[in-house]
Structure formats: C-alpha cells, structure tokens
C-alpha cells in the first residue's frame, strides 16, 4: 500500500457547518481532506449528514460556515463549470430518468469542458477535443459501451448505476464524489464498482465514497471516515476504525467483528456484521 500522507491535499474542507433554513444543523464542524491517489469511504448512521457533506464538498450546497478548498483555492467564487471540471459527482440515482440514449447521458459528463467562447461550443454536442475519447474510455471501463444506443429508461437499477459511473468518469475531474454507488448492484458488480473506484484512485484521483457497506470499504478504501450527528467521530485505516470501541457508541453493540482472509492486495482486512447477539465482540 502506497503511503499518501505526505501528498498535498487535493481537497480540504475546514470547519464545515450546514443547516437548511430553520432546521436543526446537519453538519457541525467537519474537517476532511482528500489527497491524490486516495480512496476514502464515508459511512455513518442514517441521517448523519453524509449526503449533505458530499453536496457541500461538491459545491451544490453552500456551507453556512467554513470553507472548501480545492488545490488551495476556495471554491466559493468558482463558476459552476470550473467546479465541475475539478469535481465529478456520482449521484444516488436521478430525479427523473430522461428519455435519452445511454451514450448521450454519458456525454453529458463532458458538458463542463465545452469551450464557452466559441460558436462551436454553443452549438455542437462534441465540442471540446478529447470529448469522444473520454466518453468511449469511460464507457469501456464501466462495461456500458454496448448499451450506447439503448434508452436510459430501459435499463435496470444496476445498469443505471453503471451508466452514472461512466458519466462521472467521462467528466475527467481529479476529484470523484460518489454517493452510494453500490446501492442497487449485485455482489459481483459491487466488487467491480469498488475496484473501478480504487483503480481511479490509483491513477492519481481523489475518490470519496459514501457507503453503508463498511466491509467493501474495508477491502478497498485507504481511509474510513465515520460521520455521526454532523460530526466526524472516527477516522483512520480500516483496522483503526472497524473496532468495537469505535463503532459501539455509534451503532450499538449488536455487531460482530472479524477478519477476512487476505484479498486481492494480499492484506487481511477486518469485517463487521450486524449480529443478533447482544455483546459486542472484538
């Protein structure tokens, strides 16, 4: 495992606070850094603020306090285009699935690269050089190339997740924010999805994944971050975080802890299962 501690942080969030108007605060002082080449998994109980944190980091919501800096710059004054060039987001599904071909949806990821000061940029679909190859590469990596001409609406839940992943990859940004990318995937595709994210990280991107699956996170992530009630309560390697004294106070004691056999990287990682017994074991 490459030690990445000495690398400069690609993204640094400082003292993030957030509240929707007239509601209880959702984020209460979150500090989080993402370094190049790192896969970080964010987990926590329902309603802990994970998705909100991802949106604030991604610039979709403005923090009420604190700042998000990317490459040393505060993203506060960035245009939406510039922000999208640096950070790609893989959402938890879409509000509405447009009647669009898969290829066109993936191509939408290239929107932020269109030249803004030329007629070509205003009128053409594939305006920027490299659009086509980026789209092709992203679809190839996610195994979606064969669906190019199918309507997005025909796809199953799992297939849609992969298309959204392809779109995020096509965006070609150095930071990848994924909100529960494995939610509706079967086990083999879950492994594949995390493998893909890990691969992106090893190519020098910073990847932040919100997930409920700490066992997959344990196998693939360099760092686990546990968010509870709007604050980070634990952060560290899977071995440091997936322990009864750390998780017990947050998730209760009905957990069973163990160690997996060595995985593809030769490391034996911890696992945690919900368990109907009462005593937390370690």
């Amino acid at each position: 495992m490459v030690e990445t501690k000495d690398t400069v942080a690609l993204m640094a969030a400082k003292e993030l606070h957030f509240a929707y108007t007239s509601e209880a605060p959702i984020l209460r002082g979150v500090d989080l850094e993402l370094r190049a080449g790192e896969l970080v998994a964010l987990f926590g109980p329902n309603g802990a603020g994970k998705s909100t944190l991802l949106k604030v980091i991604g610039g979709l919501l403005s923090p009420s306090q604190g700042s998000v800096r990317v490459g040393g710059d505060s993203i506060d004054g960035w245009s939406t285009l510039k922000r999208a060039q640096h950070m790609a987001r893989m959402p938890q599904g879409l509000d509405a699935w447009p009647d669009m071909k898969v290829g066109d949806l993936v191509r939408a990821g290239r929107y932020c690269h269109r030249p803004t000061r030329s007629w070509r940029g205003l009128f053409m679909t594939d305006a920027a050089p490299g659009d086509h190859s980026a789209v092709q590469a992203a679809m190839e990596q996610t195994g979606t190339l064969d669906w190019q001409d199918r309507s997005v609406r025909e796809l199953s839940g799992g297939e849609r997740e992969r298309v959204l992943m392809a779109r995020a990859l096509a965006q070609g940004s150095s930071i990848l924010l994924a909100d529960e990318p494995t939610r509706s995937l079967d086990p083999s595709h879950q492994l594949e999805a995390f493998g893909l994210l890990k691969n992106q990280a090893s190519q020098g991107k910073a990847v932040l994944v919100v997930t409920h699956d700490w066992n997959l996170a344990s196998q693939f992530a360099d760092r686990l971050v546990c968010l509870a009630q709007g604050q980070i309560v634990a952060e560290g390697t899977p071995e440091q975080v997936l322990r009864a004294p750390v998780l017990g106070p947050v998730f209760g004691s009905q957990l069973h802890f163990g160690t997996l056999p060595p995985g593809s990287d030769g490391e034996a990682r911890p696992f945690v299962l919900p368990w109907s017994g009462t005593e937390a074991s370690d």
């Binding site: 949106k55 991604g58 979709l60 245009s79 939406t80 285009l81 922000r83 999208a84 060039q85 790609a88 987001r89 959402p91 879409l94 509000d95 509405a96 699935w97 447009p98 009647d99 669009m100 071909k101 290829g103 066109d104 949806l105 191509r107 939408a108 990821g109 929107y111 932020c112 205003l122 009128f123 053409m124 679909t125 594939d126 305006a127 050089p129 490299g130 659009d131 086509h132 190859s133 789209v135 092709q136 965006q171």
Partner: protein, 373 residues
C-alpha cells in the same frame, strides 16, 4: 505487427462528428414539414377574406409596394393586401411566440404540462394590458394602434403583469427544491381565476363606455384584426430577443431534465438558465398577448406535437416550436376563416375548442404516471 505500436480500432477513433446530435435527421423533416405548412397557411391566409380573392402574385406585388418597391395596386386592392399581410404576419408571430414560451416554460419547470396559459403568464399579461388600456383612457384598439407610444405602453404593462405572475408561480410552486406538478397547476388555476375575476369586474365597470369595454373584451379571447406595423415590430423584437437565448439554454435544459441538482453538479449554471428562460418566455408571451390578447393552448399543444415528431431534446424543440407555432396558429386561423367564412370565430375561441380536449387527452394518456404525483 509491432506490439508497442498503439492500435486504434476504428470504433475508438476520436472524431467530433461521430456523436449523433439529438433527433438527427428527423428534426430536419419536421422543420421542412412545418415550413411547408407555414407557406401553405400564409398563402391561404392571404387569399381568403370577406371582400375578394387575392392571388399570390397580387399579394407579392402588394407587399413589395408596401415596402416602397414598385407601383401600388389599383383601388382598394393595395389596402386589402396590406391588411391581410398584417393579419397574416401578426398571427404567425403570435403563434411562434406562444409556442416558444410554452416550450421554455416546460423546460424550466421540467414539466410537459406547463404552458403560458396554464401557469397564468398570459392571464397576467392580459391584466397588465387591460390596466394600461384603462389608464390610457380607454380609446379602443383602433385608437391605440394609431397612437405611437400607446402600444408600447400596453406591451410594457403586459410584460410587467406576465413577469409578476410567472415569478409568483415560480415562487409558490416550488417545494423542497423542485416544482411539483399539482402545486404548479393549482397555483395556475388560482391565478387564472383571480385574474379572470378582475378582468370581468373591469369589463363591468367599463360597460358604460362601449369603446373601452370593446377594447377590454378583445383581450379575452384574442383579436387578430386591426393590427398595424407597430404590433409586427414589437412581436419581431420580442421574438428576436427571446430566440437569442437558445444557444445558452437548449443544451442546459436537456441536462436539467434529470434534476436541478444533477445539472448543477454537471456544471450547468441552473440559476442563469432559469432566469434567462423565464425572462424570454415572459417576454414572448407578453408580446403576443399585448398584440392580440389571450389565445390559450398554443403554448401547450405545439411543443407537444413537436416533441412527438422530433424527439425531446430542447435544442431541437425550442427552434422548432418557433416555426411550428407560427405554422400552427396561422393554419388554425386560415382554415377556420376558409371553412366558416363570415362566421369568423375568434382565434382564442377556436383554440379553446381544440386545445381543451387536447389537454384532457394528455391528462388521460398520462393518467397512470400522474397517479404518483
């Protein structure tokens, strides 16, 4: 083969032309069809009238003379030709404006049922125009047309009314960061009812003065007669400004269709797109209403037909709605004058008779989807 040499399979060769534009060839067929229909409708509209038949040559010669090129036609012919050209152009431009406004609103509210007449935009414009007519002194449509600044004043008042109502709908119809269909429709119903009541009250008060009452009534169901170059100029200006935003919102609206937050994450400046589109829609709808009064359902029906024929991409839908809207309203008006002759239903009446059932049919077709609203 040298293994170190990168080999590009033909399908992976980057070529900017490889990506299909939304709609593709179908769009050109629809555009050609709409253009043909428009030409035919212009021809019929110029030829049919109460007084005498005008053939195409005569219409062209009259038009040239009107622009100061060539001899005017003899006797009343020149006057008739000018009248018919004005009516034809105004009808086509109004159709284009309303259909375009409908397409824009459907994009902003991410809802195929949004239309200027349903959301209350045209009602707001009508209210503004009516207030302006009363304020100017209620001299009737003919008088307004002959006064230089008065139509401009009516136009400004109509725009203000339309903008206020559209803004109100956009504020009230929003909950939890998105527009819910029932809320939008209900807000539209309420606003249409309130504005309709105010208009009726104004007409009652104005009954003592026949000219004022007539001018106000004209705004109720549209009025395509007695128009002048001022209306044509205002409509052209509003449409030109409105259409100039297409390159800045067409593609963005396609991305917006999947959700506002998602579009924002992809880099779409959603605030700017919505502001531009709402302003352009308000401007075009207000110009149409200021010129001829309320004509319902054009903004709903035309984008729907275009969508069925040419696909859902707003980059095609917006420009095609302009063209198809002109063709649609002009053919409705021309065929109605041709078929009904002297009966002369007002365009808003015909459109309500045709458009109302169309709207109902849409609701029935979409019933299953709507049960989840």
């Amino acid at each position: 083969m040298n293994p170190s040499q990168p080999v590009d399979p033909p399908s992976l060769q980057p070529s900017p032309q490889a990506a299909p534009t939304p709609g593709g060839k179908r769009v050109w067929w629809v555009a050609c069809g709409a253009l043909t229909l428009l030409m035919a409708a212009i021809w019929v509209s110029l030829g049919v009238g109460r007084s005498e038949e005008i053939d195409a040559m005569l219409a062209l010669r009259g038009a040239l003379a009107w622009m100061g090129l060539g001899e005017p036609l003899p006797d009343a012919q020149q006057w008739i030709v000018e009248l018919r050209w004005t009516r034809t152009l105004v009808t086509a431009l109004v159709g284009a404006g309303l259909a375009y406004a409908g397409a824009l609103l459907q994009g902003v509210f991410r809802n195929d049922l949004a239309a200027p007449s349903i959301l209350g935009t045209t009602a707001g414009a009508s209210l503004g125009a009516s207030i302006a007519i009363l304020a100017v002194g209620g001299y009737g449509v003919e008088f307004l047309a002959s006064m230089g600044p008065a139509p401009v004043l009516v136009m400004i008042a109509a725009f203000t009314g339309a903008a206020l109502v559209t803004w109100l709908v956009a504020m009230l119809g929003r909950s939890g960061g998105r527009y819910s269909v029932p809320t939008l429709l209900l807000v539209g119903i309420a606003i249409n009812a309130v504005v309709g009541g105010i208009l009726a009250a104004m007409q009652s008060f104005a009954l003592s003065d026949f000219e004022v009452a007539k001018a106000l009534f004209a705004w109720g169901f549209g009025h395509l007669d007695d128009k002048g170059p001022t209306e044509i100029g205002l409509l052209c200006l509003a449409l030109a400004i409105g259409a100039s935003i297409i390159p800045f919102v067409g593609r963005e609206m396609d991305l917006l269709a999947a959700g506002e937050e998602d579009a924002l994450a992809l880099g779409v400046d959603t605030g700017r797109v919505k502001a531009l589109a709402l302003l352009a829609a308000t401007l075009c709808a207000a110009a149409s209403v200021a010129a001829v009064g309320q004509i319902a359902f054009v903004g709903l029906v035309v984008p729907h037909i275009v969508r069925l024929l040419a696909g859902r991409s707003y980059r095609d839908l917006l420009p095609l709605s302009l063209l198809a809207g002109a063709a649609f309203l002009l053919s409705v008006d021309a065929s109605q004058r041709w078929l009904l002759g002297d009966l002369r239903l007002r365009p808003g009446v015909t459109l309500s008779l045709v458009g109302g059932p169309f709207f109902l049919a849409l609701l029935v077709v979409n019933r299953r989807r709507m049960s989840s609203w």
